[in-house]
C-alpha cells in the first residue's frame, strides 16, 4: 500500500511512471490510500474522512465512468453542432467527478433527482451511452423514446431531468418523504446548481426537510456560473454549504471524485442515522457554456477555462493518482480510453441512423389511465388515438 498526499502526487508520479513501464503489469497495487483536500463543515462537529483508500477495481470503475461521461458529452456537443441535436443541450464536461463520486455512495434503495444537465447521470443510473445519445437525437432508441430530449431523461430511482430551475428541489424532498414514509431506508440525492440555489422554493424545501427530518441529501453543484452570472454576482452568500442555515453542510472539492465519494458516504450515513437532511456543496467547473447556444466566453476568459483544464481537471488528476500509485498502467488506461472511444463512436452512428417514433405516438402516455380514447389534433377533424406504451411504475 502506498500513501500519498495531493502535494507530492505529481513528484512521485514521474518516478512511478518509469517504474510502471518497467514493471509492466506484474506488480500492480490492489489498493491505494490518498489524503484529500480538507472539507469545510457547517454545523457539524466532525466530517468525512480525509484519508481515503480505494481498491483497484473501484479506481478503474470511476475512471471509466468519468471517461464515458466526457466522451458522451463531447459526442453530444458535436451532434448539436451538426444540428442533429435540437433545442437545448447542457454539457457536464468538467463536472464528472461530482456525479461519479456521488453514485459510488449509492445503495440500491437510494434515488437521485437533478436539473437539466443530466446526460452523465442518465448513463450512471443505468442507461447505455447509445440510449442517451439517441434521446438527444430524438430517436426511438432513446431513454424515453426521443420524447423528452436533453433535459428529460429518467430511469430506475432516477427522477429526471427537470427543466425548471429549482423545481427539482422540493420534488427531491418529496421523494425523500416517500422513502421515509414507506420505510425503504433510502435517501434522495437532490441536486441543483449555484443558480438554482437562489430560488425561493429551495429554502421552502430545506425548511420542511429539516422540520420533518427527511432523508434528503441536498447537493449544490457549484460550477461558478448561473448561466452567465457568476456566483459573486448572484448570491449574497457564496458559501453554499452554509445556506441551509439549520441544515448541516459540507464544502467538498467537486473536482476530486474521492472527496465527493467520501462526502456522499458521510451524507448517506447522516441521513439513515435519523439526523435528517444534509447539504453538500461540490465546487466544480463546467468547460462548456451554459448550453450549446452559449460560447461561454463573454462572462469569463478563455484563460480561466484553460487554467482549470490544466490544473483541476477531474479526469486528468484522477488518472495521475491511479498511475502514480500503480493501480493501473498507462497502457491499461489507454486500452480503456480506446474501448470507450469505439463504443461512443458506434453509439453516435446508431443514434443518427435510428428512426423517430411514428406519428401514432403523438398522443401516447398523456395519462396512465386515459379516459378519452382520442385527443384533438391541430384541426377538429383530426383525432389522435391515445396509446399507452410505458410501464407506469406508480399505477398499481
Amino acid at each position: 500500500m502506498i500513501t500519498l498526499t495531493t502535494k507530492n502526487v505529481s513528484a512521485v508520479h514521474n518516478t512511478l511512471q518509469k517504474l510502471t513501464s518497467t514493471w509492466q503489469c506484474r506488480n500492480l497495487a490492489t489498493e491505494a490510500t490518498f489524503d484529500i483536500k480538507a472539507f469545510k463543515l457547517h454545523k457539524l462537529e466532525s466530517g468525512p474522512n480525509t484519508t481515503v483508500t480505494i481498491t483497484k477495481e473501484d479506481a478503474i470503475n470511476y475512471y471509466k465512468q468519468m471517461q464515458y461521461i466526457r466522451r458522451i458529452e463531447t459526442a453530444a456537443g458535436n451532434l448539436y453542432k451538426e444540428k442533429i441535436v435540437r433545442g437545448f443541450c447542457h454539457l457536464y464536461s468538467g463536472q464528472e467527478a461530482c456525479a461519479v463520486g456521488m453514485k459510488s455512495a449509492f445503495r440500491d434503495q437510494d434515488s437521485i433527482i437533478s436539473a437539466y444537465r443530466v446526460h452523465g447521470w442518465t448513463y450512471l443510473m443505468g442507461a447505455k451511452p447509445v440510449e442517451v445519445l439517441s434521446e438527444l437525437t430524438g430517436r426511438i432508441g432513446g431513454v424515453v423514446r426521443g420524447k423528452g430530449g436533453s433535459m428529460h431523461m429518467y430511469g430506475k430511482n432516477f427522477y429526471g431531468g427537470n427543466g425548471i430551475v429549482g423545481a427539482q428541489v422540493p420534488l427531491g424532498a418529496g421523494i425523500a418523504l416517500a422513502a421515509k414514509y414507506l420505510g425503504t431506508g433510502g435517501v434522495c440525492f437532490t441536486l441543483y446548481g449555484d443558480g438554482a440555489s437562489n430560488q425561493g422554493q429551495v429554502f421552502e424545501a430545506y425548511n420542511m426537510a429539516k422540520l420533518w427530518n427527511l432523508p434528503c441529501v441536498f447537493v449544490c453543484e457549484n460550477n461558478g456560473y448561473a448561466m452567465g452570472t457568476s456566483s459573486e454576482r448572484s448570491a449574497s452568500n457564496t458559501s453554499y454549504y452554509t445556506r441551509g442555515d439549520y441544515i448541516p453542510g459540507i464544502w467538498v472539492d467537486g473536482m476530486d471524485v474521492l472527496a465527493v465519494r467520501e462526502a456522499s458516504k458521510f451524507a448517506v450515513d447522516h441521513c439513515i442515522n435519523g439526523n435528517g437532511p444534509i447539504l453538500l456543496e461540490t465546487v466544480t467547473y463546467r468547460y462548456s457554456g451554459h448550453s450549446m447556444s452559449d460560447p461561454g466566453t463573454s462572462y469569463r476568459t478563455r484563460a480561466e477555462i484553460q487554467a482549470v483544464r490544466m490544473t483541476r481537471d477531474p479526469i486528468t488528476s484522477f488518472k495521475e493518482k491511479i498511475l502514480s500509485t500503480n493501480l493501473a498502467t498507462v497502457d491499461d488506461l489507454k486500452k480503456i480510453d480506446n474501448e470507450i472511444k469505439i463504443e461512443i463512436d458506434q453509439a453516435v452512428i446508431k443514434s443518427k441512423e435510428d428512426e423517430e417514433i411514428t406519428l401514432d405516438e403523438l398522443a401516447s402516455d398523456i395519462y396512465s389511465k386515459p379516459i378519452e380514447s382520442e385527443h384533438r389534433g391541430v384541426v377538429p377533424w383530426q383525432k389522435i388515438k391515445h396509446v399507452r406504451i410505458g410501464p407506469a411504475f406508480n399505477i398499481v
Binding site: Y154, G172, Q201, M208, S368, I371, A392, N394
Partner: protein, 361 residues
Amino acid sequence: MAFTISFHKPSALTNTVKILKRSLNTTRVLANKQMTVRDALNSAMDDEMERDERVFILGEEVAMYDGAYKVSRGLYKKYGEKRVIDTPITEIGFAGIAVGAAMAGLRPICEFMTFNFSLQAIDHVINSAAKTFYMSAGLVNVPIVFRGPNGAAAGVAAQHSQCFGAWYSQCPGLKVISPYNSEDARGLLKAAIRDPDPVVFLENELLYGNQYPITDEVLDKDFVLPIGKAKIERKGDHITFVAHSKGVELALDAAKELSSVGIEAEVINLRSLRPLDINTIIQSVVRTNHIISIEQGWPYAGIGSEISAQIMESEAFYHLDAPVIRVTGADVPMPYTKSLEIAALPQINNIVDAAKKLLGV
C-alpha cells in the same frame, strides 16, 4: 316545528341536525339521508385513507386545526401525524414535495387552503405533475390529488375570488373535477384519489355547508363516480343549461322558474371539466336546439368558450336554432363592494332572461 339554532360552524349545525333526526320520529322525507358537501369530502378521504396506506394528506392547517374549512376534520386524530401533515405556508414547496412523493410511490392529497394560493405552486401542478408521464414516455406517472375551495366565496375581494377551472382544464395530462353536490363530492373525490394520474379537484366554499340527499349506494365504501362523465340533473326539451359547481345550483333554480312559464330546461352538471363530456352536451343540444353555459368564472377563454367552440366543431352546430350563449362572471376583478360583487357574478335572473331571449319569448 321551528328551531332557532345559532352556531358559528356549519359542521356543528350538521351534527345537531343528525342528532335531531335520530331522536325525533321523523317523516319519510326527513328520514332520507342528507349529507353536507363538507362531510361528503371528509368521508371520501377517510374511506380512501383506510383503504390504502399510501394515501396521506398534506397542506396548511389540515391536521391540528382540523382544516381551515374543516374538510379534514377528525382525520389527524384518526390517522396521526404521519398521514395528516400540517405544512408551513409555503405552497410551492409543499406542492413540490407532494408531487415528488407521488412520483416515488405515495398517493398524496395536497390541499390548497384555497385554489387562489395554488398560483404560488402552479409550476408543480403543470410542469411537475401534468407533464412528467408524457416526458418520461410512460415511466413516471404521478398519482396525486390537488384539492381545495375554488371560485368566488362571499366578500373576499379580488385575490380570493377566482375560478381556476379554465386554467387547469387547459392542460393535457391533468384531470379536472368540479363537483356540485354531496354525491358528486364523495363519488368523485374517491375516484380522484384512486386515479393514477394527477387530478385537480375544485371545490366551492359556499357549497361546503349545503345538505343534499344521498342514497345508501353513495355511502358504500366502494362508491365511485366515473371521472369525465356529466350528469343530467333535470330533464327538459326546450333548452340546455350546462354548468359546473355553484353554477349547477343557479341553473336548477333558473330552470324551476322557467318551468312556471312553460319552458323546460335540461340541466347538465358537468362534474368533470377535463375530460369534458361533450357527448352528453351534444346529445342534449340535438334535442333542445338551444344551449346556455353557466359558470362563475371569467368569460374570456372560459369553460363556456370551450363548450361553445366544441359545439361549433361538432354535429351539434347544425342543430342549433340560435347561437350559444355564455352566462359567466363579469370580465372584471372581483370587487369587495357588496352590490358590485352581486353584479359581477351570474344570478338566476341572468339565466332566466338569457333563456327567454334565446327562445324568443
